[in-house]
Amino acid sequence: MAMIEVEGLTKKYRDRVAIDALSFKVAEGKIVGFLGPNGAGKSTTMKILTGFMPATEGKARVAGFDVFEKPIEAKRQIGYLPETPPLYPELTVRGFLQFVAEIKGVPRGQVKSEIDRVAKGTGVTSELDRLNSALSKGYRQRVGIAQALIGNPKLLILDEPTEGLDPRQRNEVLQLIKGLAGQHTVVLSTHILAEVKTICEQVLIIHRGKIVADETMAAITGGRENGLEEKFIQLTAN
C-alpha cells in the first residue's frame, strides 16, 4: 500500500505559485529524501501533508486517509518535525513529551512507557528533567524527533532535521533516522545531498514547485560517486 499518495497538488500564495501540480507516491516502509534548492516548495508540501495548511488544488492521502476530508484520521498516522522544533521553552522535556502524548491520544497507562521509549530511541533520557529552553541545538532537534515518534506513527515527516547542527550531531541524527527504517515510513527534506546518499532509498527532487525527479537512489546516481550531485545541479539549473 502506498503510504503517501499525492495527485495534482497545487498551492498558491496569492499569485505566487509555491507548488505546481505535484504528483508522487511513497511506498510503506521507505526512507525518502525530499530534495530541492531553498524555496523550492519542500516545506509547503510537508505542511500540506501534515494538515497544517490546505492545498489550493489537488488531493493528498496519508495511509489511505484524505488529509482534507479526514484530517484527524490522517494526522493520527503522522509524526511531524517542522523546520523549527516546536518546543515550549517553559516545559521540561518530560512535561513536553507528556503533553504531546496526551494530545496524540496515547492511552493514559502507556504515557510513561511511551516517553521512556522515545527518549531512549533519541538519546535524550539524560535530559528529561531539563527545561526545553536550556537544551543545546542538537538536543532540541532530538527532542523534536522524539516528539514526532510519540504514538508510534506510521509516517514520519521531518523537515530539515539536521539543519544547524554540527557535523557530529548531524551524523548522530542521521544514524537515528536510519535506525527508524522498517518500522516507519520516513520522508525527510534537506538540501544537503550527502545526507540523503547515506540513508535514503528513494529520492524526490523538487524545483520551482515541480517534481523534476522521482527515482530510486541507485537509478539516480547511476552508480557514480557524484551521480546525485551532478543530477541535482543539472535538474535545478534554471
Partner: protein
C-alpha cells in the same frame, strides 16, 4: 474532552512557570489591598461619626445607608473597584495565549496533532480562565479577614451589621468572574490575530478601555443612545449581582459575549490554515 484538559493543563503550567501570572497576582493583591484599607477606614469613620449623633442611622440620607453593614459598605465597593482593575490586568493575561504559540512556532505542533480547532481554542481559553479566576480569588482574602476579625467591632455596634453575608459576597465574586471571563475571551480572540504579545495586550486593553468609556459616557448621553450605552455597560449588567441579587440577565449577556468571541477565535484559527 481529554484533549481539552491536556491543553488547558499545559497552559496552566506555562503560566505558572513564567513570571506573567505571578506579576499579575502581585499587582492585583497590592492594588486591592490599598482599596480595601481605604474602604475599611471610610466604613470605620462613618460608624464612629454615627455613634456620636442622636438618632443614629435614621438621620443619614439614603446615599450613605450602604455603609451600615460590612458587606455593602466594604466588600461590594471593593468588588466594584476590582471590575476596573481587572479591565487593566486581564488583557495582559490573555495576550500570550495564541500570539506566543505563533511566535515560538509551537502552533504548528497543535495544528498538526489530531485535534480539532475547537478543542485547541477551548483548551487554551479554559487554561487562561483558571489563571483569571485565580487572580480574582486573591481578593477573597478580604472577606475572609472580615469574617475572622469583623466580629470584634460588634461589641460596640449592632450585632447583625458586622457579620458578613457570604451569599452576597459570592454573588459579587460571580460578577467579577463573569467580567474577567468576558475580557479574557476578547483577549483570546485578539491574541489569535497577531504574532506579537505586546500588540495583543495593548489592543485588548484599548478594547476594554472603550468599555470603561461607555460606563463613563452613559450618564451623559440622552434618549435611546443612553439606553443602549447603559445596557452594554458592565456596571449596569452587573449591578444586581453586586447588590446580592441573583440575576440571570448578566449571565446570559456575558455567556453570549464569551461564546461570540470564542467562535470568532475558532474562525481566526481555522482561517490561518487557509492563508
Amino acid at each position: 474532552m481529554r484533549n481539552i484538559i491536556a491543553i488547558a493543563k499545559k497552559e496552566l503550567t506555562v503560566y505558572l512557570t513564567t513570571p506573567w501570572a505571578w506579576i499579575v497576582f502581585t499587582v492585583v493583591s497590592f492594588v486591592s489591598s490599598l482599596f480595601f484599607i481605604a474602604y475599611l477606614i471610610q466604613f470605620k469613620d462613618a460608624h464612629e461619626q454615627i455613634r456620636t449623633m442622636d438618632g443614629g442611622w435614621e438621620q443619614i440620607g439614603p446615599d450613605a445607608q450602604y455603609l451600615r453593614n460590612l458587606t455593602d459598605g466594604v466588600v461590594m465597593p471593593l468588588f466594584s473597584t476590582m471590575l476596573v482593575v481587572l479591565l487593566f490586568v486581564v488583557p495582559f493575561l490573555s495576550a500570550r495565549i495564541f500570539a506566543e504559540e505563533r511566535r515560538q512556532k509551537t502552533l504548528e505542533l497543535l495544528m498538526t496533532a489530531p485535534l480539532t480547532s475547537f478543542e485547541i481554542v477551548l483548551g487554551k481559553y479554559l487554561g487562561g480562565l483558571c489563571i483569571v479566576i485565580a487572580t480574582i480569588s486573591t481578593t477573597l482574602v478580604y472577606p475572609v479577614l472580615l469574617t475572622a476579625f469583623g466580629s470584634s467591632f460588634s461589641a460596640t455596634t449592632a450585632e447583625k451589621t458586622m457579620t458578613l453575608e457570604w451569599p452576597v459576597v459570592l454573588l459579587g465574586f460571580l460578577a467579577l468572574v463573569l467580567w474577567g471571563a468576558a475580557i479574557h475571551s476578547i483577549g483570546t480572540f485578539i491574541s489569535s490575530l497577531t504574532e506579537s504579545v505586546i500588540i495583543a495586550g495593548l489592543v485588548t486593553l484599548c478594547v476594554s478601555l472603550v468599555w470603561l468609556v461607555i460606563k463613563l459616557a452613559a450618564p451623559n448621553a440622552a434618549g435611546i443612545l443612553r439606553d443602549v450605552l447603559d445596557y452594554v455597560s458592565f456596571e449596569y449588567q452587573l449591578r444586581n449581582l453586586l447588590r446580592g441579587v441573583l440575576d440571570l440577565q448578566p449571565l446570559v449577556f456575558f455567556a453570549s459575549l464569551i461564546l461570540v468571541f470564542l467562535l470568532a477565535t475558532h474562525r481566526a484559527v481555522e482561517s490561518r490554515r487557509w492563508v
